[in-house]
Subunit: 336 residues, 2 copies
């Protein structure tokens, strides 16, 4: 009676694996890549309930055999390419393959093996332009996806809903907000490396951050909250809907300034300042302010309300940074 | 300076090929299947400007070599699987492959060879549920796709728009309404075989049609109109938009009764009646009434206004039926 997490070595994936193991689940990860540095140690105490299978969701036979051989009963499908414009221009086919074809492979295998529930980890990006136009996003708000990432995440979610109906399979889809927290790194498939993670890496390395003068308005969600919300959806006795927002549900105030401040207190060698006229910032900023993704449905159906405030999230994140030094080692691609 | 039509042996495809050849274009068809019976004769007079290449849009190398070797300058990408529920439950991967991965293959080849314009033949199905909720559909109306067909057509269209921006390629997308007319047949990838075509096949075979008591409210468009609209978009000097509805723009009145009536006058052996209580209709009916797809933008930007009224379309269709008897021969799959 195991839970399969595809993409379980990724940012959200490792958080999910931790949350599920904490709850007592047996967990099988299918991922084309390795766990991040430090994760093996963090998961050590759950060794008897944890299995890592290397493989891609593009390999339908591999997906099928992992589900079949590992007695998988529930699936969280989180494997995806999180593409930015450069990759979208260079390799649209690769994004379509993983995000759509990979999803069909997982769904087909789930059906063949009669799994009890599948959670598709979609993205708030599926709202597309509505994120920037509407002050509050409900699951029924219009979707206007424009990037290949958002188009494929939206399409995969809609395919899940269609096959849920045609196959009478228990499937629910999630739209994840912007996640910050432990285990975010450059895995080669995550192009929009978060501002918080970049600053965290600089703080650990004792570098100086040059910020732009603007802040970012978003309903960030701490990765631990996101993971527990997904686990709650996976295990809720019944789900009344096909689609759930997962976010903190509130806009964080001055998130970048407060994060820099928290980091500089924890890592005294870390300095930060705002770029002077004509100077370039040396970290990448997420593009645009967004409306808030409402999480009322998640609370109602799965009984989960995210509980990390911004400050609590920052404190927990820093605590994790301190106790996971190997994640930040210089060989790690997180420090690029 | 040829035009490539992918899916050029299909229903809309053959109409397109005829319209382009009539305009004086050189036309290359890439299609996994053969032309319908009768088409070779119909295209005979354009032989010097027409080439048929067998091959699938899934074969990226084949797409590339056809565009490269045939001096293709413009592309109409019409190859698609038009799926119904049975296929969607049985082979979602196959639909994703052709409708999305195939589209990426065509776009990539078009970019490599610097084509001057690409028209993506999408579908009104991309509006999804909005078709049944809104009285009039404009190109900016919300899309709520729910079937795998509509999801893949919507996603392919959005990918075209994204790559248009990233690659600075001249791409326009079309949402085709419900098309009736010559050359519709069962090619194995067209599940929702049109009511008009079924009745036409019965009329030619001298069979009796048993109808349901309901009519269908739709803004049908005659295939010749649809084809000329696409050709106009392909050749318009510039296009101000990325997306165009192509439909007749008007709801046809009593379309099934009038079609049966027209057929029975042209084919006296054909009989039709409404099913009595408890009796099954023996033809398949399109599912639901739809709002009208507005064609103002098409007129404005491409200078094309569909000109076949329902009665004119029926007369032209019947004339075509009479002069293309081989299309209806008993070996043809059209008569299933």
């Amino acid at each position: 009676m195991a839970v399969l997490v595809t993409g379980g070595s990724g940012f959200v994936g490792v958080n999910l694996v931790e949350a599920l193991l904490e709850r007592g689940d047996a967990v099988v990860v299918l991922d084309a890549g390795d766990l991040p540095r430090g994760a093996a140690r963090a998961l050590e105490r759950y060794r008897s309930r944890f299995t890592l299978e290397r493989g891609s969701v593009l390999d339908a036979g591999r997906v099928d055999s992992v589900i079949g051989n590992r007695a998988v009963k529930r699936v969280i499908h989180a494997a995806a390419v999180t593409s930015g414009p450069e990759r979208e221009a260079r390799d649209p086919a690769g994004i379509v393959d993983v995000n759509l074809r990979g999803t069909v492979n997982v769904l087909e295998a789930a059906r063949r093996h009669g799994i009890a529930r599948l959670i598709y980890v979609g993205s708030g990006a599926a709202y597309g332009e509505s994120l920037y136009r509407l002050p509050r996003l409900y699951e029924g708000s219009p979707s206007v996806p424009t990037t290949i990432y958002s188009v494929t995440k939206h399409a995969a979610e809609r395919m899940c809903m269609r096959l849920r109906e045609l196959w009478a399979l228990d499937i629910a889809c999630v739209r994840l907000g912007t996640v910050i927290g432990p285990w975010e790194r450059d895995t080669g498939v995550r192009d929009n490396f978060g501002t918080h993670s970049q600053l965290a890496a600089m703080a650990v390395a004792g570098k100086s951050a040059v910020l732009t003068s603007r802040e970012i308005q978003r309903d960030w969600v701490y990765s631990v909250d996101a993971a527990h919300a997904l686990a709650a959806l996976l295990h809720a006795p019944t789900l009344g809907h096909m689609l759930y927002n997962v976010s903190s549900g509130v806009t964080w105030k001055q998130p970048i300034a407060r994060w820099c401040d928290a980091l500089s207190r924890a890592f005294p060698r870390f300095e930060y300042r705002t770029a002077t006229d004509g100077e370039q910032a040396n970290i990448w900023y997420t593009d645009r302010d967004r409306g808030i993704m409402d999480v009322g449905r998640l609370a109602l159906d799965a009984g989960y309300t995210p509980h990390y405030t911004m400050d609590a999230a920052y404190a927990a994140y820093i605590e994790w940074m301190k106790k996971t030094p190997e994640f930040w080692s210089s060989e790690s691609r997180a420090n690029r």
